[in-house]
Symmetry: none
Amino acid sequence: MLEAKLSEAALLKRLLDAVKELVTDANFDCNEEGIQLQAMDNSHVALVAVKLEAVGFKRFRCDRPIPLGVNLTSLTKVLKCAKDDDICTLKAGDDADILSLTYEAKNSDRIAEYEMKLMDIDADQLGIPDTDYDASVTMPSAEFGRIVRDLSLLGESVRIEVSKEGIRFVSDGEAANGNILLKQSADASSGKKKKGSSSKRRGGGDDDDDEPDEPEEEEGADASDGEGGKRKIKKEKVKKEENGEDVEMDGADEDEEGEGEFKPTKGEDDEEGEDEDEEGSSKKRKRNSGKSKPAKKAKKEDADDDDDDDFDGVRIEMNQAVTLTFSLKYLVNFSKSSSLSKKVQLMMSNDVPLLVSYAFNQGFIRYYLAPKIGDD
Amino acid sequence: MLEAKLSEAALLKRLLDAVKELVTDANFDCNEEGIQLQAMDNSHVALVAVKLEAVGFKRFRCDRPIPLGVNLTSLTKVLKCAKDDDICTLKAGDDADILSLTYEAKNSDRIAEYEMKLMDIDADQLGIPDTDYDASVTMPSAEFGRIVRDLSLLGESVRIEVSKEGIRFVSDGEAANGNILLKQSADASSGKKKKGSSSKRRGGGDDDDDEPDEPEEEEGADASDGEGGKRKIKKEKVKKEENGEDVEMDGADEDEEGEGEFKPTKGEDDEEGEDEDEEGSSKKRKRNSGKSKPAKKAKKEDADDDDDDDFDGVRIEMNQAVTLTFSLKYLVNFSKSSSLSKKVQLMMSNDVPLLVSYAFNQGFIRYYLAPKIGDD
DNA sequence: CCTGAGATGA
DNA sequence: TCATCTCAGG
């Protein structure tokens, strides 16, 4: 039995906007931690991972883990029936054959209820290997979107070069070549670039959601994933959840690129598994106090960004220069998630999939994209 | 070696918006005076002439005349990659095989550089014959755009009738007929409506005739082009550059219309008698105007209009009534240049191509459109 | 509140 | 590929 009440239907709508282009059907894995979705696109070049923290819901209850097999096209249609500021409640029984969505106007004078059929989706519960990235770039999401859209006019792919100088996007097209350099903002360092040990992100561990609704965010729960995406760059290590079998992402054009893909963390099925390691303790969300600051001190309804850091420049943290080439088509699609956060974080290492991460109050959406091997 | 720095990329973007629909490839002729483009559309019904004065650039250097053969579709794509307020620098070597465009954010934290291949375009450097028009109408460009867009919903062509009463746009369509009358604004005359015998257009030799009517706007050359578009209506003379061989514009539908192309109006100057006086003097501002005054008292960045005259009504100056019919498709396209100037000037003589002129701080864009002969 | 751009559907 | 509708920005 799942029951999750979201204060803004807009959040779901925005999440789906980008995901539905990538995958047509996916499991929404619900458990006491919240709702997660992981799926690879049909060509196995890109992977998307979404997490909605239990604590971010106005109300959240999930008696036991349930995968909800959803056709994203249908869900998109149903979500179109919601107004952006409707309070949206998701409900599903333990048999998970029907997902009920209730939209309630803020003023309660309107209640709409939709039910959609669920399906069984073979759970390729992909584990996403932990990766320590060589370079992390945080920049305004609108700017990232603008750049990839611009370059997509000229060519098929973009070479992204991260160096101390800044981040450069280069595209060679038939008619014209283009290259855009974003210099690291002067005061970027001021932000919070704590690298270091902390950089590894821990899985979910969060709360026992007793008081889910109320965010006593203090505790790590939310903090863990929530912030995973943003503030602490992972100088040294970045880890993703490692449950799931290994993901094998094909190379953009060739598969040999394979090695680049996420290396494995075994242990699939338990999606919660992620936190086992350092996070194991996570449950005791307390520890992290590091960011005791409550989940972003209360969610801002506009969902722009999650983090308290409102620096809007370009911040680069890197161990070494990285240059990789990616398909612009995918990046343009990822950038549709810009409405979820004012900032986006790009994490790169040579021969490893790019991680494009948008963090928002209640969770995150992350995209992984295998590099093109030819580097052309 | 060309190097031209424009303070607002928006200017180029707007110029291209309209031109690219008319022509796919064109030479940007660069010389010490600035950058000019002249091209006829594929059907030879319309001609477009653009001039960007050297003085209007933030920086301009052109060692020797170079024609840059540009594919406008490619250039449009590249320009889409610029933000409107980017500082845009054009560069080309003497071999003119590559055009480099650099976009620099006002805050300099972003630098984008694009290079596009140039091509050799057989220079049909068209000379545009000088014409003295029988009627000149200056009106808000937004209004003109609105009218032609509206009428294009009803029919294919519009009959434009200019008389003392005002200017009337008439369209007969299958489903409906429409006609819009714009009366001359009450105080329009205040502007400058000089008429005069001078109204006859003359072919090339213009300028020196200072005495003829008033308008010896100094020698035709510069004056004509630079400010020709706006303030002084060309009752008497409008001169365009007369280099190049003469343009031969085909009739809109038939070619026999050929003679219709810029030929002179025989000077029926009857009605003008009224005000030539005041204007005569106006012309006097002679030569200085050419470009002595820095592009219109310093460029206003918003590029709305160029002239010092901020009268926003309809002003008509004419020697005789004129009625001509034009293809709305072209006029609608021309009106895309409305963003370049708050005003547009229409110049007409019977059986001669219509001149639609938008003047802005740094230059102008002019369109010539052959009338439909049937007058239907 | 209006205008322009982007996305979606025919 | 073009036109219509929706969303975002000024």
